[in-house]
């Protein structure tokens, strides 16, 4: 079974600085998707960034980037120029793609989350 591990329950960073959130996963699959979701105090789950395992290039979305190390099964999130609005829970998630026969559930497997606080 696939598992996702976030080893940092809580982190803090000063505004405008850079922070990296760690995530490791375990799978025997070769093709899959990885995600980082943000959950601010409003409780809404917001997609931050997505990575397809077959792509060697690390995904980037504005101030958010990932370091995807497939062999090491590592998927860390780097937040540059941290802003107060980045304060949130961050969840790393893994997904098996749905195959042509629909055998896979296609659901997300989540880590336990990292609570990030950005301090002024």
């Amino acid at each position: 079974a696939q598992t996702v591990t976030q080893s940092q329950p809580e982190m803090s960073v000063q505004e405008a600085e850079t922070v990296t959130l760690s995530c490791t996963y375990d799978t025997s699959e070769n093709n899959y998707y990885l995600f980082w979701y943000k959950q601010p105090p409003s409780r809404q789950m917001i997609l931050v960034i997505r990575q397809e395992a077959y792509k060697q290039q690390n995904a980037t979305e504005n101030r958010f980037s990932v370091n995807f190390q497939k062999a090491a099964k590592s998927f860390s999130l780097k937040i540059s120029d941290s802003q107060l609005g980045d304060t949130a829970m961050y969840f790393c998630a893994f997904m098996n793609p749905v195959n042509n026969y629909g055998g896979s559930q296609g659901n997300l497997i989540f880590g336990k989350g990292t609570k990030l606080s950005v301090k002024p």
Partner: protein
């Protein structure tokens, strides 16, 4: 605005009562999911539906049931609520197999006393 609507947003319930959490999406997504979120445990899958008329069990299905009579609706029922079912419940749908992204509702906070 297109998306997923969950109801109620919050509910306090006596143990032993029956409760249905509603979930409706207007994006015509085939796959839908119910997760529960508990502090320190992240989100765990309760039940899923790959398409209308089919459902499946997730990681923590005991005490819950679902139905998928049509594409848009995916209600979650607690037949006889227990305090351990106190949680925040999220409904989600999947845009497509090629992207893998899940879209989430705003969650329903349920407290069972």
């Amino acid at each position: 605005i297109a998306g997923i609507t969950q109801a109620p947003t919050s509910q306090i319930l006596a143990a032993g009562r029956r409760m249905t959490l509603r979930c409706t999406q207007d994006m015509r997504h085939n796959a839908m999911y119910w997760y529960r979120q508990d502090l320190g445990l992240g989100l765990r899958l309760i039940h899923y539906s790959n398409t209308a008329g089919t459902t499946g069990k997730g990681e923590v299905p005991d005490g819950y049931s679902v139905s998928r009579a049509n594409t848009d609706d995916f209600p979650l029922t607690l037949a006889s609520a227990v305090p351990s079912q106190t949680s925040v419940y999220f409904c989600a749908s999947r845009k497509g197999a090629s992207t893998g992204e899940l879209f989430f509702g705003e969650g329903s906070r349920l407290t069972v006393l």
